[in-house]
Amino acid sequence: MSDIGDQSLISRRRCLKLLVSGLGAGLVFHHVGSAVIAAQNDAARKETSGLTVRVARPLDAETPVGEFASFLTPNDRFFVRSHFGPPAREHIEESQWRLNVGGVVERPQMLTMKSLRQFEPVTITAVLQCSGNGRAYHRPRVPGVQWERGAVGNAEWTGVRLRDVLEAAGVRTEGRHVQFQGADRPAVEAVPLFVRSIPLEKAMDADTILAYEMNGRALPLLHGAPLRVITPGWMAESCIKWLTDIVVREDETKGYYMQTAYRVPKVPAASGLTTDAMVPVEAMPVKSLIVAPESGQNVPVGLVRIQGVAWAGEAKVAKVELSIDEGRTWETARFLGKDRPYAWRQWEFMWTAKVPGTATLLSRATDAHGEQQQARTPWNPGGFLWNGWDRVSVQVNA
């Protein structure tokens, strides 16, 4: 049997199993349509305990929010999302893998991992979040992976500055956009490749890196080994995994994943309507999550410690507030721990629970530009950028 498994997806799944398996059983919400389908999904579910699997193949899984009590999200608990799943191992083995840098540059480059490591290493702590995180809360419903709260995480990324690599190649004056492509491929050729670009300005930012380590360890396969882009403060679809090709261009990348997907109305449109003026998703809007207590948890009357995280893309989080009365009044939470650009900020709020029964905790954050989370996020056709107030209901016991 091993004879068919060695170079196959099957063996890769085993490897995924090792990568994502962890302690405890994660909550898995599947809405299965038939016994046949259910049986198929059971197999995938077992491989990914610890994460909430949304799609078994290609694997899309989110982190249970309780994990966010720690400043850094562990690699094996970090949310997983890709369009086609990881590429075959042989395409990303260090001996085979190359990074090609071309397009409108003076000196096209073909870098090995070894030559890439000659550039100055840098480490950035940054939140990575899927644009569709919270899609399940948009109404009317939007097609796509029905992410709830956990398609986000905070990690330390180590790599080299994209700027240094681009300077080695020499960007010509007409270069305006930088395109990325990974080694992952769709099962069927007619499916468009996942190719995207970012404006040159973001590419040349000293904090935009090509990362080969995540939380001090080699980048895991599910998270883009051997190299991925990290655009701190921006949504994760710009952080291309399994990176093999960088092309400097005069214009934005063509194709489905740049011109159709991952775009939002420039001005919020009425529900159900699309608008012509669509712009690419870029920076993350301000957002907060209540990490503890968890939804449905029992808490005693008296002092209850509410904990959470908040982030605001390229901006700093200025304030986090809590409401116990459906948003009529708000009280300010206290920041804790590390304060690093692009990372999330941990916070706590000591709440005196007085009345037994169900209580709903709401959190909202405000960034340094005064942008504040609203009760709901304006609807958009892709179901992106959800940052409505976070909401957790607990049971107060006498």
């Binding site: 196959s8 038939s34 389908i37 999904n41 995938a44």
Partner: protein, 205 residues
């Protein structure tokens, strides 16, 4: 007791049918459509859609008919092996079962106890099945090539030409019929003759 003549009984039953037709809950209608189309639609989902993604991506959606039609259309455009008629059936089934108002957790379909209905049925034969390599090429191209590559040289799925599994027929059949790892089960799509033909053809590669 009131005795009713057959004519009156007929009248009442006709009236009853009309009333139920008018006042039937849409939910019931949708449910009937789900049950009627379910076996074939689920077989299509397993065979055609899960070449690229597991069916859970579909079953977590709750969308209006226009959205479902657009999605099926997009997938056909992106290479899903479905005919125009199958696309229509899928859109009707998905709109009925996974509509905007459907609950997050759906009750199982009534046909659940059985497997999805086979798509291509061959007349039952009694003798041993003999694969015909000449037929296998086309069946492979339509069903297997997307993952296993042109001529079975491999792709997302493993290389099949010269793969030792071809010498272990029981394992080969088990894998095709019931799936293995990320490979979906093909028992509801391929007939035994189809599988034998594919096997025969692969042996020539």
């Amino acid at each position: 007791m009131i005795k009713t003549s057959p004519q009156i009984a007929l009248f009442f039953s006709a009236m009853f049918m009309m009333l139920t037709a008018v006042s039937a809950l849409p939910e019931d209608d949708l449910n009937s459509i789900s049950i009627a189309l379910g076996p074939r639609a689920e077989a299509l989902i397993l065979a055609r859609c899960s070449v690229c993604h597991s069916p859970d991506l579909i079953t977590q959606q709750r969308l209006p008919p226009a959205r479902w039609e657009a999605i099926v259309d997009k997938m056909k455009h992106w290479g899903a092996e479905i005919s125009q008629e199958e696309a229509g059936l899928l859109a009707r089934y998905l709109s009925a079962r996974y509509h905007s108002g459907a609950p997050d957790r759906l009750p199982p379909l009534e046909h659940e106890a059985g497997l999805a209905e086979p798509l291509g049925q061959e007349p039952a034969s009694t003798g041993p099945i003999v694969g015909v390599a000449g037929r296998g090429a086309g069946i492979f191209e339509n069903n297997c090539q997307a993952c296993h590559g042109h001529e079975g040289v491999g792709g997302q799925g493993p290389r099949l030409s010269k793969n030792p599994i071809l010498q272990h027929e029981d394992l080969f059949w088990d894998t095709v019929l019931h799936g293995r790892g990320p490979m979906p089960a093909w028992s509801s799509v391929l007939s035994e003759q189809d599988i034998a033909d594919i096997h025969a053809w692969l042996l020539t590669r």
